[in-house]
């Protein structure tokens, strides 16, 4: 039955042309006209030749080498040929995938002009069903359209493999049509059944990878407005791996008239957003490759007995962002302190009975989350019985920061997270004083003078029970080469973490 359903659409695509009720982005074909009569007689000398320019001598000074040509985007071909009947009766048949003819070329042109990084970025087109999309070769697949579509199995497989290998897929509803957006959401459930689209928060690096963008001008059914850029994503790690822009960008990119029945991001905002998305992908390719690796897995307890053993908190949200994190922490601890460690990864929910087996747990995430009443209760009991949590906002994103503070307040309504001064024993006592730390460049871009660890603590009975930083600690600890993580540089992330752990173990 399923097979039949899967086959039926391609078959239908082959034999019946779908008629749509929304005009195509490429305008009505001009009426055929008769070619002008030839006035030249056969064999006549035309003297039209190619001007090859002045020959250059070997000794002559040459121009600097041209920029490197790099194809970075495939605009993918998908779907079928559609039919639209214009009000005057003209029938237009057009390929569903194309939408605007020059949107991708305008995008790469804008990228070249604005990034001006010495590369000449280019785009190409390719059928989505073709094999061998390699993000190392071409990191972006771009798909646009106005109409409903159903992906073939081979296309679903291609997208999944491409994205897991570190590639990024960008969908844009060419003129903001709901039916395309709905189709993207539906079809992406086939690609990643366990993941969904989340709206990117205002502080997401996609909105400042090149130019800072806080708002864009929109035109929705002819009504102008200003709003935060609507971009949705399915993430892998903290990387926006499949991005969906449900408002049209193509009209602004290709400099055409806005369709009054569409939803568009207009003018300069659309161009900047497009360049930012490309810049974001270019900046996150290395991180994408990091995430595409296979990470060591230990089964069972790697080192039994009285050794340091900790767990990562599992909750309904993006808790598992740093593959191999526990191995990185355990190795760092073992190598630098000689403390015996259990290398095997443990995860625990806040309402699990086993939570009490871990004196210390780590928690991270990058988006909003909510703890269940059982998890709230488990968290409060764990802390009151002497457990400790070290938490950090992955990539330094605000939604986790807000959510973590809110959920902690719910569990401990009478306690506050207070800033821990850099002079606190946590950082300054012991064998590894951390006076100054180095932050990643995304932090320094906004806070160029920041040099001290920024931690907050929740004290229960004068015991430091929760240690929290709104900056990313884990990706540095895990050496993730995430260019957009707002956090501590790798070396200092480890130094600080060693201090936190040894402090917690000794207090």
């Amino acid at each position: 039955m399923i097979l039949l359903a899967a086959l039926s659409l391609p078959l239908a695509r082959g034999f019946a042309q779908r008629t749509v009720d929304f005009p195509p982005a490429i305008g009505k074909p001009p009426p055929a006209h008769k070619a002008p009569p030839r006035t030249q007689t056969g064999g006549e000398e035309t003297s039209i030749g190619i001007d090859e320019g002045v020959a250059m001598r070997k000794t002559q000074q040459r121009e600097p080498p041209p920029p490197t040509n790099l194809t970075i985007i495939y605009k993918v071909q998908y779907g079928e040929d559609l039919k639209y009947v214009h009000p005057d009766g003209t029938v237009q048949v057009f390929p569903q995938w194309e939408s605007f003819k020059n949107d991708a070329s305008s995008l790469v042109q804008s990228t070249n002009t604005r990034l001006a990084d010495g590369n000449n970025y280019q785009y190409a087109t390719a059928p989505l069903s073709s094999q061998g999309f390699d993000p190392l070769d071409i990191p972006i697949l771009y798909m646009t359209g106005d109409y409903d579509f159903v992906l073939r199995d081979s296309e679903v497989k291609n997208i999944r493999e491409f994205v897991l290998k570190g590639g990024t897929f960008i969908f844009n509803a060419a003129r903001g049509r709901e039916e395309f957006v709905r189709a993207v959401i539906r079809e992406m459930r086939k690609v990643f059944p366990d993941r969904g689209f989340v709206k990117l928060p205002a502080d997401h690096p996609a909105f400042n990878s090149h130019a800072r963008i806080s708002e864009v001008n929109t035109l929705i059914n002819g009504v102008q407005s200003v709003q935060s850029p609507p971009v949705y994503s399915i993430d892998i790690g903290t990387r926006a791996a499949i991005m969906l822009v449900p408002y049209g960008l193509g009209t602004a990119w290709s400099g055409q008239e806005y369709n009054p029945s569409g939803r568009h991001i207009v003018g300069e905002g659309a161009v900047r957003l497009g360049v930012n998305l490309v810049a974001y992908v270019l900046g996150s390719t290395e991180y994408g490759r990091f995430l595409a690796q296979e990470f060591p897995e230990y089964e069972g307890e790697s080192n039994k007995g009285d050794v340091f053993r900790f767990a990562q908190v599992r909750y309904k949200g993006s808790w598992s962002l740093n593959p191999g994190l526990q191995n990185s922490i355990a190795t760092g601890l073992r190598d630098n302190t000689g403390i015996g460690v259990d290398y095997s990864p443990h995860t625990v929910a806040l309402n699990d009975a086993e939570l009490k087996d871990y004196p210390l747990v780590f928690m991270t995430g990058h988006y909003d989350f909510e703890l269940s009443p059982e998890e709230q209760k488990g968290l409060a009991e764990y802390i009151n019985r002497g457990g400790t949590i070290i938490a950090s906002a992955a990539a330094g994103l605000k939604p986790f920061d807000i959510a973590f503070r809110r959920e902690l307040k719910r569990a401990f309504p009478n306690h506050e997270l207070v800033p821990i001064p850099p002079s606190h024993a946590l950082f300054m006592a012991g064998w590894n004083p951390v006076q100054e730390v180095e932050y990643t460049s995304p932090v320094l871009r906004d806070e160029p003078d920041l040099k001290t660890p920024q931690f907050f603590g929740l004290f229960i009975n004068q015991r430091l029970a929760v240690l929290y930083t709104p900056y990313d600690l884990m990706s540095g600890l895990n050496r993730e080469s995430n260019a957009y993580a707002k956090g501590l540089e790798s070396r200092d992330a480890l130094r600080v973490t060693l201090n936190l752990i040894t402090y917690c173990l000794s207090h």
Binding site: P87, H210, N221, S225, V226, P260, P448
Partner: protein, 521 residues
Amino acid sequence: MNSLSMSGIRGKATLLFVSFLAFSAALDGAEVRSNSSGGGKWSQTATWEENRVPGPEDTVVIAGGDKVLFDRDDSAVISCAALQLDPESRFEFEEGAGKRVFRVAGLLESYGAVRMDGTLSPEDHLEIQLVGGEEGKFALHRGGSLVISGHPALPEGRKNAAIRRTSAGEKTTAGSFAADSGCGIDIKHALFENVSAHFNSINNTGIRPNERLNVLDSRFENAAVTFTDCDTPHFARNQLTGEAGIEHGVLLLRTPMAVIKGNKIADYQTGIRANASEVTLDENTIEKVRTGIFATGSNVTVRGGAIRQAQTGILFQGIGGSIQDGSIEDSKTAIRCQSSKIQVSNMTLRLPEGGKESLALDVGQGSVTVLNSNIDPKAVKVTKGNATPATPPPVVSMQYLVAKVTGNTPPGAVVLVETENAAAPQAANMADLNIRNSPAPILPGGLTPLPRSMSAIIVKSWAMKWDGGLEPTPEYRLTVIVPPPGGEGAPKKYKSLKAKPDDKWHRPDLDSQAATLEISL
């Protein structure tokens, strides 16, 4: 005495004279440089190369790599004749020490960082005074930065970090602060008094390292703020009070994507003058001005806020843009549109009482789409100019339509709106531009979408022709239908009614659950 000995005497005299000049220069004013070994406090001799604290006649230079901390209250004296900061140098104010006033008689010129942080204590008062002479200038050049953080919670709008222009003479001339490309500006809770600010070619997009342009929660008295060739400056929650002679409060020249938000501006010729593209003027309150907002550029959005007591509330000239969600009160002409194509939505206009010549809308060679704004056609003036009978109407008014469907609503039912007795029959696939967002879903509670959803039904109301006459308001037919499954075949029709938009359709509150019409099934 021979000539040789005479020349020797002359030589000695010359040497003495030069020595005297050098000595007097040391007393009357010389260049005093910081120690090039890290700097120190202003009042300590060790901070300075000459081992003496600079005096009022001295030109002070802070060398690269040095940080000089200003630790005096020079309210009654001049701190120095001029101050120059070399690249990579810093000039900061002592914190937690009460009043620290630095008074410079001449130019303050910086390639380094100037920092005033009054956040530590509300008792602190940190101030730069540009004193004396015809000019009071503070110039910040490439590589320089100005970071001012006043205390955020002082009573009655008091600011404890200030740049002020004062004069020893009778008349105080205006001072200026100018920052060029390559500078970082972060100003919060500061006071600029008699000092206008000029920001030139500063990019706040993050593209250029160390360039920033954020001016927040500050007060400008008798001062104007100008952005020229900047990109995405952020100017928010500031208060500007001018004098009648000052041309503008905020001037934007070729400054795209500027965010000018939540400012209070009063007593200028023009509140905000925007000659820039894609600018958002958001939630600003502008009062007692000749023109509230004067926009020439492209895609200028005026959103929220209020304009009061202006000759002209908003003037759009030669551009496209929108005016939305705000109010214009007691202004002789609320909105003037000259050769522009604009949209006015959700605006509340209140014309001066008894002002017979007052206009809600004055359109000259442009077109205005009015959506859900209380504009009376009698208060609209159009100037024909080059318009021909074929030119679309200069003013078209649209209204939201929120229908409430009561009774037994069938699953999947929607509300279809069609123009009743349309002048020309509608061709298949041709959009009816009288209507937007039809058919509309019936949401839980029986209402079609509210305006905030951006998918509410919108219908054309009145339209004004170039001769000032009105086109007849169209009548609409609303029908509850259930579309056929799969889109094939005819829809199942339930009930329909006819309606014609009028003034009562105006929705001052976009979130109101009130229905425009009710359809009982």
